[in-house]
């Protein structure tokens, strides 16, 4: 179902890798280059910002705990400039309170010690959304639904509802193709990494749960519509 390497045509995706551990930095950069990525490295936040001045990468991989400027601060500064996808690589696991803050700014979270195949699968998943353009701040779909995907929140009839990372990835893919049907296969590739053994039923169940979250009446969905046997469609009530 997935191409293991170089699925991006002639231009290799560019990755900026930021980690204060030089040993890991060199090693991971080598692993990524072997898989066809173009990799730049930075030892800390300041160096990372300087490198960004020379051109935007397609993806950033940032260590959370770094001296001087931590990963969260760096990620916020970068997000303030551009909607670059960020994967956080951290020794602190995802249950930590600081990791919660990171979820505002990071597309994904990989815990150290990482398994390289797992990390590569996450990178592929994130890169699949390249080219998608979704309004940065809020996407108003109707009086009862506004999406604020940058903070993983849907505002349903005035009440903020927290979305899981998978839910917000699916909504991102649907919002980038507003009004058009997105196939179940595409949603599957956007929502889950290859390593997660997902099949179409993951998409069905997640969409059903998502509908219960964001629709006022889940039995008569106004925004999240099923195109039976094909996929799903996100529509705004104002535009029809």
């Amino acid at each position: 179902m997935y191409a293991a390497s170089a699925p991006y045509g002639p231009a290799a995706p560019r990755i900026l890798l930021v980690d204060d551990d030089p040993g890991l930095l060199v090693l991971l950069a080598d692993q990524l280059r072997n898989d066809g990525f173009e990799v730049q490295t930075a030892r800390d936040g300041e160096e990372a910002l300087r490198r960004l001045g020379g051109g935007w990468p397609d993806l950033l991989i940032i260590d959370m705990m770094m001296p001087r400027k931590d990963g969260l601060t760096l990620a916020r500064e970068i997000k303030a400039q551009a909607d670059l996808p960020i994967i956080v690589l951290s020794a602190i696991d995802a249950g930590d309170s600081k990791a919660d803050l990171l979820e505002e700014v990071a597309e994904d979270y990989v815990t150290k010690p990482y398994h390289y195949p797992e990390l590569r699968a996450r990178i592929h998943r994130v890169l699949r959304r390249l080219g998608d353009r979704v309004p940065r701040q809020s996407l108003v779909l109707g009086p009862n639904l506004t999406l604020e995907l940058h903070r993983r929140t849907a505002i349903v009839a005035g009440t903020p509802v927290q979305l899981t990372p998978t839910e917000s990835r699916l909504l991102y893919a649907l919002a980038a193709n507003l009004g058009q049907t997105v196939s179940t296969e595409t949603l599957l590739a956007r929502g889950w990494a290859e390593t997660e053994d997902a099949d179409p039923s993951y998409v069905w169940v997640t969409m059903r749960r998502l509908r219960q979250k964001v629709e006022v009446d889940a039995n008569r969905p106004a925004h999240l519509q099923t195109v039976r046997g094909v996929g799903y469609r996100l529509v705004g009530t104002e535009t029809g």
Partner: protein, 505 residues
Amino acid sequence: MTDRAPLASRIEQHALAEETATEPEIALDFDVPEEADDRRGLGIDLPFRTRLTVALVAASILPLAGFGLLLVAVGGIGTEAQTLGRLLLFAIALAAVLAILLAYLLIADLTGPLRAIGRAVDRVAAGDLGTPIDLPGEDELGRLAESHNRLAADLERRNRQLARILAAIETTSPRDGVDWLVGRAAADAREAFGLIDAEIRLGSPSAVPAEEVVPGEPRPVRATLQTGPDPTGVLVGHLPATGRWERADQDLLDLFAAQVAIAIRNAELFARVEAQNAQLIELDAAKDDFLRGVSHNLQTPLARIRAHAEQLDAVSPDRRLGIIAEQTDRLSRMVRQLLTVTRLESGALRPQPEVLSLAARVRRAWEALAAADVSFSLADDAEGWLAIGDADQLDQVLWALLDNGVKYGHGTPIEATVRLEVDRRRLRLTIADHGRGVPEEDRARLFGRFERGSDVAPDEGSGLGLYVSRELCRAMGGDLVLEPSARAPGAAFTIVLPAEAPEET
């Protein structure tokens, strides 16, 4: 707010004292001498009106009648005397009639004011303090009316004071701090008691010497602040020379001082608790930082070891490199488990419920354990249903259960079974080994913190695995249970998780 109940009861007591103050002996001036007991009279049990009538009639008739009887006795037998006697009897009868008439008029004049006073007392008893008795005059009745009016006015004044004190006490909060409370209470006392000045000094009351009362000068007033056995301060102030200060005023001031003392003590306790809370929050943050640091410092080298082993293995495959990678994972999982325990304690565990296939997840977890010498079988009867849970947290549970199965099953085959409970919309994943099982005496405490089976060496495992696993399952809306030994030969643990049907809707 713990002082509310005693405060209420004290005020109630005071209100009772106010009510009974309608009896004269409480509210009169201190310098009024003890009065003789005038209430009993002759001790004849007749209504007041009748007694008065009898007294008046007797007073007017008795001298005349006595004189007539004397005349009859002295004059004896003469006809003139008889005529005079008749005349006298007639005069006595006439006098009697006149006396009775006069008595009625006098009684009306006397009892009218008394009834007015009686009605006024009734009004006071009913709570109307604002209507004085209008009885001019310097006689006893006039003075009685005046002292009643003064009593009612005093009552009204104290009611107002009490209301002010109550309002002052009700509106204080321990958050206000001691300094603010002290200033505020002094101002309240000044206003409520009509003082020229008032001040609260904390510390021993003996440090503030009592002032003499000098006639014509402002009168010093004073009350001790006390909550426990030892006084905590004193309230001192001055009343204008023209002001009145009675025992009830002093009682009220004492009550006020007691409440102020309670409020100050509460503020002190609150400040102490606040300081401790701030310290705890600081310590908690320090603990989090410490754990983060420990985790970082342990995981970073592990990450490096793992990455190198992985890369080397890719270049020139070697079984030993795989073992290195697996053992690093194992260490890393133990560090994570410790972190999870601390998060359980602080309630910071927030699962992200996602859709996942239990069978696929358990197979991957088994592969990660890499226990190649133990046989593993997986039966998936989920009928495609997907569990709802946090993948990371579920992995921690699966690793712990599978690891236990390998450890305590002593190499016996491990069987994993996923079953669907359609009507309850949930999946049950049972992981069973064929070892000795869990002894009866261990079953109840198996899920406690730092508990190991009684036949397990103390240096084996952290004793946290099952505790953490059950908490994680419950946080995901499921549970973790130990199957009864009758149903399984070894130890069999079942994870229960909410599930959803694989339908496109």
